[in-house]
């Protein structure tokens, strides 16, 4: 029997097969990016709970109606104005009576110390004292980090929408408010450490978050207009 000569396998079609698979994956791939705005919903409050009293000057009301029109503090506005108005509201550089109240951390610490002394006299609520002490620690580290002039705004942005508002509009407004807060955070971070908020260590981020919390309140939608 003549020995058959060992023939080399032709690898030329390998590329074709690979191309076929490649094209299949190219077509089926959806580079799905899961990105979005993460928010925490407020926990459900029992209906008989007392509403905290908030001064009128400390509430920044943004209304979006069913025709996607925008009213900020009762004036018709354009969405592009939200960011600047929000920042002014929180920072209140000229101590305007209509904008949010700013409380110095030095004052807050004094007040908290008095509260702790008062709480310690009623010895039955140890948890309360512990909580207040934690808060005092936080305030002190904020003061140490940013200096004596640091103040926190008592302002809250209240975003109210109609049931007929478009979701896209709602996100646009929400986005602008967050942009305002992020810019404030970034500014404080840059002034103190020369870095953006996202590049800070977790401890530093916590301090900045304490000064500029995401104070956005979403009321249940009403029928207005």
């Amino acid at each position: 029997m003549a020995r058959r000569e060992l023939q080399e396998i032709n690898a030329g079609s390998m590329a074709d097969i690979a191309f076929l698979l490649l094209i299949f994956f190219l077509v089926t791939t959806t580079m799905e990016v899961s990105s979005g705005i993460t928010r925490m919903l407020p926990p459900l409050v029992p209906p008989d709970a007392e509403h905290p009293d908030v001064k009128e000057r400390n509430v920044f009301i943004i209304l979006v109606n069913k025709d996607n029109q925008l009213a900020i503090e009762d004036k018709l506005r354009d969405p592009s104005e939200i960011k600047q108005l929000c920042m002014d509201f929180f920072i209140n550089p000229y101590n305007n009576e209509d904008l949010s109240e700013r409380v110095l951390y030095t004052e807050k610490i004094e007040k908290l110390k008095r509260e702790i002394i008062a709480a310690e006299q009623h010895e039955n609520n140890n948890d309360n004292v512990k909580g207040l002490n934690e808060k005092l620690k936080m305030y002190n580290s904020v003061k140490d980090a940013f200096g004596n002039k640091i103040a926190r705004s008592s302002g809250v942005v209240s975003l109210q929408n109609d049931r007929g508002t478009d979701y896209g509009k709602y996100i646009e407004v929400q986005d602008q408010i967050i942009a305002a807060l992020n810019e404030l955070r970034n500014k404080l971070s840059n002034d103190t450490w020369g870095e953006d908020f996202d590049d800070l260590s977790l401890v530093q981020q916590k301090l900045v978050k304490e000064v500029f919390p995401f104070a956005i309140s979403e009321a249940e939608p009403k029928k207005f207009n």
Partner: protein, 154 residues
């Protein structure tokens, strides 16, 4: 002419295509790895809104999705906005059950970190979104994410 004669001795040899499969395989593997097969068939249209302040979701295994938009199959589901959980259209009452079901899939300590991502069509009215948020609050699923596409800020 001698120039086009393949077997001419002085001409440059043909470029070897032997490494072509390797290159293609490399691309192939890249796409295979980066592909995420769609987990659910969407039964509603969800054109996501744009936003500037979006962040990437880090841990995808902790995310469950809720889709809201106009149904693709208008004969069966009509044209009003609908909620899709898993791969079927559901009504608002199904959300609490869905949350429990999704929680049961995760380990106990992960439950707290779970995020519910709302993939909502731009043109959806807020009414239905608010109802969904209310349902989520009732079952203490407070960490939510409004899925949106990145847009560069002007």
């Amino acid at each position: 002419m001698g120039k086009f004669d393949k077997k001419s001795k002085g001409g440059s040899p043909a470029i070897s295509t032997a490494s072509l499969p390797d290159i293609v395989f490399m691309l192939l593997f890249f796409f295979m790895v980066s592909t995420t097969m769609k987990e659910v068939d969407t039964k509603v249209y969800t054109r996501l809104p744009d936003a500037t302040q979006v962040k990437k979701i880090e841990n995808k295994s902790l995310v469950s999705y809720i889709y809201i938009g106009t149904p693709k199959n208008t004969d069966e589901f009509g044209t009003t906005d609908a909620i899709q959980l898993n791969d079927q259209i559901a009504n608002i009452g199904g959300i609490q059950q869905y949350v429990e079901q999704e929680r049961a899939k995760r380990k106990e300590k992960e439950v707290k970190l779970m995020t519910f991502s709302l993939k909502v069509d731009e043109e959806t009215k807020m009414g239905i979104v608010v109802d969904v948020k209310e349902e989520l609050r009732k079952v203490q699923a407070l960490r939510i994410n409004y899925a949106s596409k990145k847009k560069e800020s002007k």
